[in-house]
Symmetry: C2
Subunit: 354 residues, 2 copies
């Protein structure tokens, strides 16, 4: 009887403790740059949350806070670094002001396409540079959505020469804006709510936004006839950053679950963006036959590229980490683009036959 | 004392049973079409195995059998259908002979690129058609690697007209071979070990293989001067199929783990193929300056496209499921290609400035 009692006590204690350990719940807080109502981008953090909860049988729980709650959509890195949040969902180029290197992990004008950039990140040295750069900030970088090629923007007048850019009143943020500004454009930062009216009234001549799936609802297609093709954001990558201490304390299975869940959300999100761009562009063409797709002439492209390279060089001279990442990307782009041109580009060009 | 005994017994039983249930190990067997030594394709099933084991803390175990063991690289679907294996790793177009619809889930000549096809599968009706088609075979289809654009092949002579295809001795399998055959080419099925010698000796004039990362080691670049761009396999998708009964019996968390692990393997694999193609093509250009990249002239492309469409129409007339999938793909391709051309294609074309 006494032996049985001892046995049962040991068994119960052992089982309960194993069970308790196996079932320890990790509750992480995620700060997002995006409201949940935002097209495509808004839903991804909830997708991630549901997926990791299902995969971990509830052992990994994520609470998602949007800007309504944390009030700091562009200070995500700081909040995750200092431990106020465990995870952050944002895009690294918002932190260009803190360190210009951040921009290179999102996208660069005249830089890599999505396929090229992803191959660079995974196998061409990108991941190692990301670890070197972000670990100093107590962060670990993952990807959650590459939103692909952005259009060059909605223009009310044609751009036929570099001269046409001088004095052009255009809303274009970030690095693209810096480049345009160097060529004499008057960069504007009108809030989203006033963009349509400003474009209609001629307060501005052009608006750079995203791509058909994002642009359609804003109505620019009603009042601007020229939809220019892209040069400024060929492969915008959105990040999920994790506080490095939090990451290191997660059990191996939950680390693997979080990483795979991000891969699934990212892959499906990329397909979703492509799908919506295709379907909405098709609608746009039908509904707004006024819209003509244009590309800047070679002279203008060359000037934009020259200005881009000047700014990149200036930054590289000031910031060794920026220089290291830029050089790695440039070296890979050279090889990657040669392959892109004889594979997908050649196919699209040569099979385009009625 | 008696109460304590009862309490401990209940607690121990409850904990052990919960623990046992939570920790039930699912052991699945996977049959692969590929030996583990095969470049890129060969390593993916082991990556998958390791990932699901880590994520599930050992609760989901996969045993991988390659053709050395199961002896049937092109009968994977049958072995998974009949329960001999739980999972199969293969490419659906190997099963074109059983039902031509299978081909459309891998790739189609003059069809969608990888981005287009993935968007179609996830959001353009593809997944629903896959479920309709594969559930009748007691299978569930997942993706494990899209190997992207294939080159048109290694040619020892230039192709300048449709006339040049007549009597051309070319090694090209599958649908591409059928199309070439309809234009008068003499299709050859020389085994891989004899390909180099056959090309060198002039027993054949041309070899269609894959892309630089796969082609380099076979040495065709030493003996064929013309590397033609692709038309026949723009987006070859490799599948993992799961026996539907096995899938339905898996707990929800393990289903989610398997699906996310496949997304991660697939995404990283796609980046790997791109990376290797870029790096190896760069080497090839250096080492074999004899190699010239060519595209078939428009007249030849038009003839290949016409023959492709004829064969597709003939198949659609015989097979209603084939027709349904083909029509869904064609409808989406129309919209998708319009977007591809104004996004990635326009970018590649217009920013290509020194």
């Amino acid at each position: 009887m006494k032996k049985l009692l001892v046995f049962l006590t040991v068994l119960a204690t052992f089982s309960v403790s194993l069970f308790a350990d196996e079932n320890k719940v990790y509750r992480l807080k995620l700060a997002s740059s995006y409201e949940s109502t935002m097209p495509i981008l808004g839903s991804l953090s909830d997708e991630l949350k549901k997926l990791v909860e299902t995969m971990s049988n509830g052992r990994l729980q994520i609470r998602v806070d949007t800007p309504t709650k944390h009030k700091a959509p562009f200070a995500i890195y700081d909040m995750v670094k200092n431990g106020q949040y465990d995870l952050g969902y944002t895009a690294s180029y918002y932190y260009k002001g803190k360190d210009s290197t951040n921009m290179l992990f999102t996208t660069t004008p005249f830089g890599m396409t999505t396929d090229e950039q992803r191959a660079w990140w995974h196998f061409g040295g990108g991941k190692e540079l990301s670890e070197k750069f972000y670990s100093k900030q107590n962060l670990k970088e993952f990807h959650i959505l590459n939103s692909g090629m952005q259009m060059g923007g909605w223009f009310r007048k044609e751009i036929n020469s570099v001269e046409d850019l001088k004095g052009l009143k255009i809303r274009i943020p970030g690095f693209g804006g810096e480049v345009m500004s160097r060529l004499g454009a008057a960069i504007n930062t009108i809030p989203i709510g006033e963009l349509y009216m400003s474009l209609e009234m001629g307060t501005i001549d052009a608006v750079e936004w995203v791509s058909p799936s994002f642009d359609m609802s804003l109505g620019f297609s009603k009042i601007a006839n020229y939809y220019y093709t892209g040069w400024q954001e060929p492969a915008s990558e959105n990040q999920v950053v994790v506080n490095l201490d939090v990451w290191n304390k997660l059990p191996k299975d939950l680390q693997a679950i979080l990483q795979a869940a991000l891969a699934e959300v990212s892959s499906r999100g990329q397909d979703k963006v492509f799908y919506e761009n295709a379907v909405i562009w098709d609608e746009m063409k039908e509904k707004y036959p006024n819209v003509q797709v244009k590309s800047f002439p070679p002279e203008v492209m060359a000037a934009l590229k020259k200005a881009t390279n000047e700014i990149l060089e200036e930054e590289a001279a000031k910031n060794p980490m920026f220089k290291e990442v830029l050089e790695s990307q440039r070296a890979f782009l050279k090889k990657a683009r040669a392959w892109t041109m004889i594979s997908d580009f050649a196919y699209l060009e040569n099979t385009n036959i009625k």
